[in-house]
Symmetry: C2
Subunit: 137 residues, 2 copies
Protein backbone atom coordinates (compact mmCIF):
# COMPACT_ATOMS: atom_id res chain seq x y z
CA UNK A 1 0.00 0.00 0.00
CA UNK A 2 2.89 2.33 0.55
CA UNK A 3 3.05 2.85 -3.21
CA UNK A 4 -0.71 2.94 -3.58
CA UNK A 5 -1.27 6.44 -4.85
CA UNK A 6 -3.00 7.71 -7.94
CA UNK A 7 -0.42 5.88 -10.05
CA UNK A 8 -1.22 2.52 -8.52
CA UNK A 9 -2.75 0.38 -11.27
CA UNK A 10 -3.76 -2.55 -9.10
CA UNK A 11 -7.48 -3.08 -8.56
CA UNK A 12 -8.23 -1.06 -5.43
CA UNK A 13 -8.94 -4.05 -3.15
CA UNK A 14 -5.51 -5.49 -4.02
CA UNK A 15 -3.80 -2.39 -2.64
CA UNK A 16 -4.98 -3.46 0.83
CA UNK A 17 -3.22 -5.91 3.10
CA UNK A 18 -5.55 -8.73 4.05
CA UNK A 19 -4.50 -10.78 7.07
CA UNK A 20 -3.91 -14.53 7.17
CA UNK A 21 -7.68 -15.03 7.46
CA UNK A 22 -8.39 -12.74 4.52
CA UNK A 23 -9.68 -9.99 6.82
CA UNK A 24 -8.95 -6.33 7.48
CA UNK A 25 -9.94 -4.32 10.59
CA UNK A 26 -12.45 -1.55 9.95
CA UNK A 27 -12.97 1.49 12.18
CA UNK A 28 -16.36 3.13 11.77
CA UNK A 29 -16.83 6.76 12.71
CA UNK A 30 -20.02 8.81 12.81
CA UNK A 31 -19.71 11.56 10.21
CA UNK A 32 -21.80 13.96 12.24
CA UNK A 33 -20.73 13.43 15.87
CA UNK A 34 -17.18 12.29 15.18
CA UNK A 35 -17.65 9.43 17.64
CA UNK A 36 -15.82 6.21 16.91
CA UNK A 37 -18.67 3.72 16.84
CA UNK A 38 -17.22 0.28 16.24
CA UNK A 39 -14.23 -1.79 15.31
CA UNK A 40 -15.28 -4.62 13.02
CA UNK A 41 -13.80 -6.76 10.26
CA UNK A 42 -14.28 -7.16 6.53
CA UNK A 43 -13.28 -9.72 3.96
CA UNK A 44 -13.12 -8.87 0.27
CA UNK A 45 -16.73 -9.80 -0.33
CA UNK A 46 -18.05 -7.66 2.51
CA UNK A 47 -16.04 -4.69 1.27
CA UNK A 48 -17.44 -5.13 -2.24
CA UNK A 49 -20.96 -5.36 -0.80
CA UNK A 50 -20.35 -2.27 1.34
CA UNK A 51 -19.39 -0.29 -1.74
CA UNK A 52 -22.21 -1.59 -3.91
CA UNK A 53 -24.97 -1.26 -1.28
CA UNK A 54 -23.68 2.00 0.17
CA UNK A 55 -24.18 0.51 3.63
CA UNK A 56 -21.67 -1.14 5.95
CA UNK A 57 -21.44 -4.90 5.51
CA UNK A 58 -18.98 -6.63 7.80
CA UNK A 59 -17.67 -10.15 8.17
CA UNK A 60 -18.88 -11.63 11.43
CA UNK A 61 -16.01 -13.66 12.84
CA UNK A 62 -18.25 -15.27 15.47
CA UNK A 63 -20.98 -16.25 13.00
CA UNK A 64 -18.63 -16.70 10.04
CA UNK A 65 -20.93 -14.94 7.64
CA UNK A 66 -21.57 -11.57 6.00
CA UNK A 67 -23.44 -9.26 8.30
CA UNK A 68 -25.08 -6.04 7.18
CA UNK A 69 -24.98 -3.71 10.13
CA UNK A 70 -28.58 -2.97 11.10
CA UNK A 71 -30.10 -6.08 9.51
CA UNK A 72 -31.75 -6.91 12.87
CA UNK A 73 -31.81 -3.56 14.63
CA UNK A 74 -32.58 -1.31 11.68
CA UNK A 75 -29.53 0.71 12.67
CA UNK A 76 -27.87 0.71 9.27
CA UNK A 77 -24.69 2.62 8.54
CA UNK A 78 -24.86 4.67 5.36
CA UNK A 79 -21.43 5.13 3.81
CA UNK A 80 -20.13 8.65 3.38
CA UNK A 81 -16.48 7.83 2.76
CA UNK A 82 -14.01 4.97 2.89
CA UNK A 83 -10.39 5.60 3.76
CA UNK A 84 -7.31 3.38 4.00
CA UNK A 85 -4.28 3.97 6.17
CA UNK A 86 -0.68 4.45 5.04
CA UNK A 87 0.11 0.74 5.38
CA UNK A 88 -3.11 -0.38 3.73
CA UNK A 89 -3.86 -2.70 6.63
CA UNK A 90 -6.81 -0.86 8.15
CA UNK A 91 -9.92 0.93 6.87
CA UNK A 92 -11.87 3.88 8.22
CA UNK A 93 -15.53 4.31 7.32
CA UNK A 94 -17.28 7.62 7.74
CA UNK A 95 -20.98 6.87 8.11
CA UNK A 96 -24.38 8.23 8.82
CA UNK A 97 -25.51 6.04 11.72
CA UNK A 98 -29.24 5.44 11.35
CA UNK A 99 -30.97 5.86 14.69
CA UNK A 100 -27.82 7.27 16.24
CA UNK A 101 -27.14 3.90 17.85
CA UNK A 102 -24.36 1.53 16.82
CA UNK A 103 -24.05 -0.69 19.90
CA UNK A 104 -26.23 -3.71 20.63
CA UNK A 105 -26.52 -2.36 24.21
CA UNK A 106 -28.50 0.61 22.84
CA UNK A 107 -25.66 3.11 23.14
CA UNK A 108 -24.32 5.40 20.44
CA UNK A 109 -20.89 3.77 20.42
CA UNK A 110 -19.58 0.35 21.38
CA UNK A 111 -16.73 2.18 23.15
CA UNK A 112 -18.75 3.16 26.21
CA UNK A 113 -16.45 1.87 28.96
CA UNK A 114 -13.64 4.02 30.24
CA UNK A 115 -10.69 2.94 32.34
CA UNK A 116 -10.85 4.78 35.66
CA UNK A 117 -8.88 3.75 38.74
CA UNK A 118 -8.17 0.34 37.21
CA UNK A 119 -11.81 -0.41 36.46
CA UNK A 120 -13.89 -0.30 33.28
CA UNK A 121 -16.72 2.10 33.97
CA UNK A 122 -19.70 2.53 31.59
CA UNK A 123 -19.80 6.28 30.97
CA UNK A 124 -22.31 6.64 28.13
CA UNK A 125 -26.10 6.49 28.43
CA UNK A 126 -28.33 3.78 26.98
CA UNK A 127 -30.41 5.63 24.38
CA UNK A 128 -32.85 2.81 23.71
CA UNK A 129 -33.25 -0.51 25.48
CA UNK A 130 -32.09 -3.61 23.59
CA UNK A 131 -35.55 -5.08 24.22
CA UNK A 132 -37.07 -2.17 22.35
CA UNK A 133 -34.51 -2.44 19.57
CA UNK A 134 -34.64 -6.17 19.02
CA UNK A 135 -38.09 -7.03 20.36
CA UNK A 136 -38.77 -9.22 23.37
CA UNK A 137 -38.48 -12.51 21.52
Amino acid sequence: MSAAGPDDRRPWPDALKWDENGLIPVITQDAASGRVLTLAWMNRESLRETVSRGRAVYWSRSRQRLWEKGEESGHFQKIRAIRADCDGDALLLSVEQVGGIACHTGRESCFFRELRNERWIPVDPVLKSPREIYGSS
Copy 2:
Protein backbone atom coordinates in the same frame (compact mmCIF):
# COMPACT_ATOMS: atom_id res chain seq x y z
CA MET B 1 -16.10 -8.43 28.64
CA SER B 2 -19.86 -8.40 28.31
CA ALA B 3 -20.07 -8.73 32.08
CA ALA B 4 -17.22 -6.32 32.70
CA GLY B 5 -18.91 -3.50 34.51
CA PRO B 6 -18.26 -1.90 37.86
CA ASP B 7 -18.95 -5.27 39.51
CA ASP B 8 -16.27 -7.05 37.54
CA ARG B 9 -13.57 -8.09 40.00
CA ARG B 10 -11.05 -9.31 37.48
CA PRO B 11 -7.88 -7.23 37.07
CA TRP B 12 -8.78 -4.76 34.34
CA PRO B 13 -6.46 -6.21 31.67
CA ASP B 14 -8.11 -9.62 32.11
CA ALA B 15 -11.48 -8.18 31.12
CA LEU B 16 -10.09 -7.68 27.61
CA LYS B 17 -9.99 -10.31 24.89
CA TRP B 18 -6.45 -10.79 23.64
CA ASP B 19 -6.12 -12.55 20.31
CA GLU B 20 -4.18 -15.73 19.60
CA ASN B 21 -0.99 -13.64 19.45
CA GLY B 22 -1.74 -11.91 22.73
CA LEU B 23 -2.65 -8.67 20.96
CA ILE B 24 -5.59 -6.28 20.83
CA PRO B 25 -6.30 -3.65 18.13
CA VAL B 26 -6.11 -0.06 19.32
CA ILE B 27 -7.79 2.90 17.63
CA THR B 28 -6.22 6.24 18.48
CA GLN B 29 -8.23 9.43 18.13
CA ASP B 30 -7.11 13.03 18.52
CA ALA B 31 -8.95 14.48 21.50
CA ALA B 32 -9.02 17.95 19.97
CA SER B 33 -9.69 17.43 16.26
CA GLY B 34 -11.65 14.19 16.57
CA ARG B 35 -9.60 12.72 13.72
CA VAL B 36 -8.89 9.01 13.85
CA LEU B 37 -5.10 8.95 13.69
CA THR B 38 -3.98 5.33 13.67
CA LEU B 39 -4.90 1.73 14.11
CA ALA B 40 -2.15 -0.08 15.98
CA TRP B 41 -1.75 -3.07 18.29
CA MET B 42 -0.93 -3.64 21.93
CA ASN B 43 0.10 -6.60 24.00
CA ARG B 44 -0.35 -6.63 27.77
CA GLU B 45 3.03 -5.11 28.43
CA SER B 46 2.51 -2.21 26.03
CA LEU B 47 -0.86 -1.46 27.60
CA ARG B 48 0.70 -1.45 31.07
CA GLU B 49 3.45 0.86 29.80
CA THR B 50 0.89 3.13 28.14
CA VAL B 51 -0.94 3.53 31.42
CA SER B 52 2.19 4.02 33.53
CA ARG B 53 3.93 6.45 31.13
CA GLY B 54 0.77 8.30 30.14
CA ARG B 55 1.92 8.03 26.54
CA ALA B 56 0.91 5.54 23.86
CA VAL B 57 3.17 2.50 23.69
CA TYR B 58 2.27 -0.03 21.03
CA TRP B 59 3.51 -3.47 20.05
CA SER B 60 5.19 -3.31 16.67
CA ARG B 61 4.20 -6.45 14.81
CA SER B 62 6.79 -5.85 12.10
CA ARG B 63 9.66 -5.20 14.52
CA GLN B 64 8.33 -7.50 17.25
CA ARG B 65 9.10 -5.05 20.03
CA LEU B 66 7.53 -2.37 22.19
CA TRP B 67 7.34 0.94 20.39
CA GLU B 68 6.61 4.22 22.08
CA LYS B 69 4.86 6.36 19.51
CA GLY B 70 7.09 9.36 18.87
CA GLU B 71 10.33 7.76 20.05
CA GLU B 72 11.95 8.70 16.71
CA SER B 73 9.74 11.54 15.49
CA GLY B 74 9.06 13.28 18.79
CA HIS B 75 5.38 12.99 17.94
CA PHE B 76 4.30 11.41 21.21
CA GLN B 77 0.68 10.71 22.03
CA LYS B 78 -0.34 11.86 25.51
CA ILE B 79 -3.16 9.77 26.90
CA ARG B 80 -6.37 11.53 27.80
CA ALA B 81 -8.63 8.47 28.10
CA ILE B 82 -8.70 4.75 27.38
CA ARG B 83 -11.91 3.05 26.42
CA ALA B 84 -12.87 -0.55 25.67
CA ASP B 85 -15.69 -1.72 23.45
CA CYS B 86 -18.67 -3.84 24.44
CA ASP B 87 -16.95 -7.08 23.48
CA GLY B 88 -13.66 -6.12 25.10
CA ASP B 89 -11.77 -6.96 21.93
CA ALA B 90 -10.76 -3.43 20.89
CA LEU B 91 -9.46 -0.29 22.60
CA LEU B 92 -9.93 3.38 21.84
CA LEU B 93 -7.36 5.91 22.99
CA SER B 94 -8.15 9.58 23.18
CA VAL B 95 -4.86 11.44 22.92
CA GLU B 96 -3.16 14.76 22.62
CA GLN B 97 -1.06 14.28 19.48
CA VAL B 98 2.20 16.16 19.97
CA GLY B 99 3.07 18.11 16.82
CA GLY B 100 -0.34 17.38 15.34
CA ILE B 101 1.21 14.66 13.18
CA ALA B 102 0.66 10.94 13.69
CA CYS B 103 1.66 9.55 10.29
CA HIS B 104 5.23 8.79 9.23
CA THR B 105 4.39 10.54 5.94
CA GLY B 106 4.07 13.82 7.83
CA ARG B 107 0.28 13.94 7.77
CA GLU B 108 -2.06 14.39 10.71
CA SER B 109 -3.64 10.97 10.29
CA CYS B 110 -2.52 7.71 8.74
CA PHE B 111 -5.96 7.53 7.12
CA PHE B 112 -5.23 10.03 4.37
CA ARG B 113 -6.30 8.03 1.32
CA GLU B 114 -9.91 8.03 0.24
CA LEU B 115 -11.60 5.66 -2.16
CA ARG B 116 -12.84 7.64 -5.15
CA ASN B 117 -13.85 6.09 -8.45
CA GLU B 118 -12.14 2.85 -7.52
CA ARG B 119 -8.82 4.50 -6.68
CA TRP B 120 -7.13 5.40 -3.42
CA ILE B 121 -6.53 9.14 -3.56
CA PRO B 122 -4.40 10.99 -0.99
CA VAL B 123 -6.68 13.77 0.21
CA ASP B 124 -4.84 15.21 3.22
CA PRO B 125 -1.86 17.58 3.11
CA VAL B 126 1.67 16.73 4.24
CA LEU B 127 2.23 19.06 7.19
CA LYS B 128 5.95 18.40 7.55
CA SER B 129 8.28 16.42 5.32
CA PRO B 130 9.48 13.05 6.64
CA ARG B 131 13.03 14.26 6.01
CA GLU B 132 12.43 17.14 8.37
CA ILE B 133 10.81 14.87 10.94
CA TYR B 134 13.33 12.06 10.91
CA GLY B 135 16.43 13.83 9.64
CA SER B 136 18.20 13.06 6.39
CA SER B 137 20.20 10.12 7.71
